[in-house]
């Protein structure tokens, strides 16, 4: 199962992709930060983020997209942009018929470090250890996206499985998602570091 983790943000939107052969056998696939220019107008910034996320979903064809859950009580200056970036990630997944999961930052930290309040450096170190990386993930803020993907891969049995969500799609949405997929020419993907 290929898990596409998203740490949503309008200026920097982290993407971390992890392959889970079993829930205890995880491997690193890809990490990136999609950036938008704070000097541009908000609509063009959202377009940039959406295109970056869409392109990577097409490239890697994940089985599930796991997005950090945003809360209204977060930093007022950035929360709306963060919520919008999360919304774009959901939209890009829904357009492709890929199921979406949401996990809180606390759940992600707990999953990778055993401590829901862990410091950033602890998260980075444990992400590197779990994925058997030689060094800490770069760029540093992409660690949260990898942690989000790991968190979903390690979720307790009985939680949402990829495919389960299919039943929520309307007939028209499913057909559209299938048509979208059929039109894609998948590029060859290098899935190891």
């Amino acid at each position: 199962m290929l898990v596409f983790g998203v740490d949503p943000g309008l200026t920097r939107c982290g993407v971390g992709i992890v392959e889970a052969k079993t829930s205890r056998q995880l491997s690193f696939v890809h990490v990136d930060v999609v950036r938008s220019d704070p000097g541009q107008s908000q609509d063009l910034r959202l377009l940039t983020i959406f295109e970056g996320l869409s392109r990577q979903m097409d490239e890697f064809s994940p089985d599930v997209v796991s997005i950090e859950r945003v809360f209204a009580q977060e930093n007022r200056n950035t929360v709306l942009g963060t919520a919008q970036a999360a919304g774009l990630a959901m939209l890009a997944a829904a357009q492709r018929g890929i199921p979406v999961a949401l996990h809180t930052p606390t759940e992600a930290k707990l999953a990778v470090t055993g401590n829901g309040q862990a410091e950033k450096i602890q998260v980075e170190r444990m992400v590197a250890r779990i994925l058997r990386l030689d060094r800490l993930p770069k760029p540093a803020d992409a660690a949260d996206a990898l942690a989000q993907a790991i968190c979903h891969a390690l979720r307790p049995a009985g939680a949402l499985q990829g495919g389960e969500r299919e039943q929520h799609l309307t007939q028209a949405q499913r057909q559209w998602a299938q048509a979208q997929h059929a039109n894609k020419h998948r590029s060859p993907v290098q899935r190891d570091m």
Copy 2:
């Protein structure tokens, strides 16, 4: 100038389209509410809203999309969904190379009633009067989307004009927007009531 007003919401997203021959000569074109099912998962609801907005932008090819500005201090239960719906409207506009304007609810009320704190019924009555409608706009909550469009049409001289935003598009984005437009088969549109 055709102004596409949006009153963003995840459950009900209002669309109100107004034609401005001059800033004092406004006419009604279209009103609608795009709905999503609260029983569906958030990603599918966002997809429904995005498709509804996109379809109507394709049908009417507006010169500008005017969206109600969302504030972080609004109702915590709905503000994130509202911000995400506004983000989708911005994305749909940006994908088509249509400039986006944002006006606050206070600005919209002020523009149509002369009172930024006007009651809902006052807004509905003044929207009907300005657009010379025989009755109050239906559904009632679409009045805010029409007020948003009217507000933009009546904005003071010197404010953002349609076309001015072109310069903010990158070369690639402009080409893409043009290609998108070239691919569209515009359906005939009835632009009066």
